[in-house]
Symmetry: D2
Subunit: 339 residues, 4 copies
Amino acid sequence: MNNINFDQNKKYDLIALGRAAVDLNANELYTTLEETETFTKYVGGSPANVAIGMARLNKETGFIGRVADDQFGNYVLQYFENEGIDISNMPVDSSGAKTGLTFTEIKSKTESSILMYRNEAVDLKLCTDDINEDYIKNSKALLISGTALSAEPSRQAALLAVEYAVKNNVKVIFDIDYRPYSWKSEAETGIYYTKVAEKSDIIIGSRSEFNYMEKIIKEEDRTDKEVAEHWFSFNSKLVVIKHGKEGSTAYTLEGESYDVKIFPVEMIKSFGGGDAYASAFIYGLLEDWDILDALEFGSASASMLVSAHSCSDAMPTADEIKEFIEEKKKEYGERVVRD
Amino acid sequence: MNNINFDQNKKYDLIALGRAAVDLNANELYTTLEETETFTKYVGGSPANVAIGMARLNKETGFIGRVADDQFGNYVLQYFENEGIDISNMPVDSSGAKTGLTFTEIKSKTESSILMYRNEAVDLKLCTDDINEDYIKNSKALLISGTALSAEPSRQAALLAVEYAVKNNVKVIFDIDYRPYSWKSEAETGIYYTKVAEKSDIIIGSRSEFNYMEKIIKEEDRTDKEVAEHWFSFNSKLVVIKHGKEGSTAYTLEGESYDVKIFPVEMIKSFGGGDAYASAFIYGLLEDWDILDALEFGSASASMLVSAHSCSDAMPTADEIKEFIEEKKKEYGERVVRD
Amino acid sequence: MNNINFDQNKKYDLIALGRAAVDLNANELYTTLEETETFTKYVGGSPANVAIGMARLNKETGFIGRVADDQFGNYVLQYFENEGIDISNMPVDSSGAKTGLTFTEIKSKTESSILMYRNEAVDLKLCTDDINEDYIKNSKALLISGTALSAEPSRQAALLAVEYAVKNNVKVIFDIDYRPYSWKSEAETGIYYTKVAEKSDIIIGSRSEFNYMEKIIKEEDRTDKEVAEHWFSFNSKLVVIKHGKEGSTAYTLEGESYDVKIFPVEMIKSFGGGDAYASAFIYGLLEDWDILDALEFGSASASMLVSAHSCSDAMPTADEIKEFIEEKKKEYGERVVRD
Amino acid sequence: MNNINFDQNKKYDLIALGRAAVDLNANELYTTLEETETFTKYVGGSPANVAIGMARLNKETGFIGRVADDQFGNYVLQYFENEGIDISNMPVDSSGAKTGLTFTEIKSKTESSILMYRNEAVDLKLCTDDINEDYIKNSKALLISGTALSAEPSRQAALLAVEYAVKNNVKVIFDIDYRPYSWKSEAETGIYYTKVAEKSDIIIGSRSEFNYMEKIIKEEDRTDKEVAEHWFSFNSKLVVIKHGKEGSTAYTLEGESYDVKIFPVEMIKSFGGGDAYASAFIYGLLEDWDILDALEFGSASASMLVSAHSCSDAMPTADEIKEFIEEKKKEYGERVVRD
């Protein structure tokens, strides 16, 4: 049992809003992108990964986002449809904008980087005309990816979607998902993050992501707990602050806090873990699990992802996650991530 | 006595944020702009007019806004300085942007229109680096003109200024001031108006201006009172809804409402009345007058303005307004605007 | 008799291509623009002035240029129509672009400056669809104002007009008319000036204007004669190099050169002289006068203009110019401008 | 022996100007791009391919073009350097522009298509400051790829490079290389192609590419010979018109014409043949071969390329081309491509 009262009468479990992009992952590991010869193509983009994660977990999932009028746009739509994600609110853009691309480079076990193609990215063409109140109204939750706020007209479209969610008792989940490109300044980032955070029921981000909002009001030294409490003074009930390899903590409006660590795995890349975490954690909340169980489930899914080649195609089912947790507990003890 | 508790320890009475522009008013009345031969130059732009109005009323007034690096930019700064307005937060822009221009055309006693030059308008170049928390902190009130929200980077600068005001107990006054140019869509207008309105202590606008926000949440048929109450559920204490020649009504958080009509005058133009109204009404609030007295003062100043040639240069002093009210009451009775 | 063989069977004497704008001339002389209180409105813009000059000289004149969809656009069209200029190729632009504005400031007898509004100027929206081969084909000459080359799509429209002129034996007259705004770099200016100059029959400009093209091919120290000869190696027959108060010289393909000085007058502003010069000089050429007579006529018209308040409205008729020359010769001798 | 008198005292044989991009070629043949799972990365872009072709043919080759400040920019520079291409005039761009990408899709033996990423393409950021007269002066020939003209500032940079070439007796080779993206209209294409074609010594293109220029002057029905003659009236000595599978014809200023057909090969893609053709043909001209021999050499290289996986990496050496021709002649007869 947790403190988020999803309206169980709604058709969709989650509608994610933002970018559905293409990842081109280097097939050769431990070399530079300059030297990389071949790439494998996957669907990518944080909210797309979360949506795929939710669908793999058998939740009714929808998506709001623009796709390009070309082969990569088709590819995204086909992939989503195959996963069972509703694509009725994914308009094909005719402006000449292109699907965002991410080329990944895994230089060594500890060093990886990416090369992004985000000029005239199609996802940022999402506009207010694309936002359908009746669609949003039918979902238990709306997930906003922070990157959708990085430029107009996507920014105003996302803000409108949040208005509709608030009005219709759809829980707003803000996955901060900071990406340095697209944003023009840190102040801009902080200002528009703040506008969504103030309306959100659940906020998920790393401490450095929360700090974009802290800087706006010039509060940089607050503890995690103080940061969470700031958002409780608005609309939030649950604030999850992530600390990478140190694990993460969920704070509740009621004053509780819950910690989980990460599962011991052989990581091959640092990408995608956060999206797996988000989808499995939200799954747990939707199932009305205790927060700590949901966190553990998120942590497990994240650990599974960072040891796979893709960010989307490798999203696990609920049974796979459960099996993974069981094995790890057998190996490392029942409280492997719990203290 | 009214329900706005301005912090009387602050240095400035009002800081206005937005455009300081140039009006070029036709000297020939009752002809088209095509036929007009000569124009007289004035400082213009709604928040500039309000600031001039406040200064004429002997209030400590500041301004946040960018001015062009040319003769018209100099003119605005010189004019403000002569009026006693603080210009320390009016950076000179070096991007090649230009002072907004408004050519007025008074076709007949009942028909007037304007020709705006707002392409690359310098006021919309205001950016977050221009927003100084310490400056805002020192003011009893911050006036945001809605036009400052119509484009980036001015939009984010205005939103940041509002954050600083809220944090430092500076009352936020939102003068909706809708202008059709600059905005790309009605949805955009409604979304960003909403973001400021939610944080405002006082909102002033015509009913059609409030409707931009009503449409966002698809509430179009609410009474004025219901509209006001919507904003009381956020941060507002006072909502003033104007109805042109029918007068205006102020609604309070406490559930009261106050009506005033307009004074009988020979109007020569419809421009500028709203800015005079705002400055004189805010003056009354700052003086802690009863709301009805403040409204009457605003209405008087508005009436004086619409019978003058300029919007800024004709702003009256407190004594002039008082004298005007006295005369009108002598002629039309004590309750001339009160029922 | 001169060396330009205009095809006398064509309907129009001259079609000018480029900007038709609005001048707002300070009514108060010898003060700064900051202090100027009133302005008088005139049609302006170099090619518009030349067209008005041609029309006053009773030549069949056309114009290719976009006008704004507002009162100033109407004003330009009405003024042209009243002057007898053909406006059939002046489309009304619907992009929201604005008529260019020039505020003039006459600080003292020797110092004047201007303030230009050229952001999103409507004249630079001229596009290839606006260029009608049949229209150009019907003119003896096409005048290209260099400013039309300063930005796309006007640049390509002007280049296309030149192609049509060359193909149809329409003489190309290039009035360099350099204005610092709009151009992004000196190299850009030189490159596109060069493209028109190579195709022109007649080139008119100050030496500093010719130097934009000299710099491109890194030839900066050539004599005026060498500069002229460079263009004779392309398509030119006549090159006029102006030296302000020192007068001007016309060089011919045949190796002749002709000098004129300026007439002694009391100048009140430095603007507009060049446009009067161009129109009266071209008039003389169209009349098949000797080059020296045409130059004298141009010089006279220029001198008349710089002692008037406007650049367009003051354009003289042929009789007025002749009378002016007669008077000046009576006063200063027959060869007043000839050596 | 041919009619192009290259100045043999110059250091470089050819400097190519334009885009150096990245191709991502589908590894799975005969499937759609949507279904394609993996891609192989190559250097691409027509002028880059020609430069690589020249280098493989052991000619001193340089390149003028901007590269991105990222891994793909590094990759292009490293690849060029390994091939022996001079990269001293390839500035690294810091504007955030990206290397152009081309994803190839080979749907069947007869149907292939591409997906281009050209938004904010780095090659189109080439500017006049990047154009070094001393560099160009040192080359026998300058190759302009038509795509370099598709947008500013690259357009003006290319036009400036042509000016320097003409001034310094560097032969200008115009490889029309039409690509539909980037260009805003057919008129724009025709106008700027014309500006380079008028200055070119050699023009190479398909008939449909020449037609962009024909349309500008509204001459659409001319024979190939008439088209070639039009350009001989400017600066051209050699005009090569290509007809795909029908072969190609070279026309000379002196009135000769030479035909070659294509070699019989199993084609696996239609891309890159033109670039191989250009490099091997220019090689023949530089070697002062008879035009027909140069054409045959070009045709052979083209045939070799279309049966390889890449457009750049597969560029043959002179020995390989000679061997290929020998084999084909053995199999199909000495005049296999000659009538």
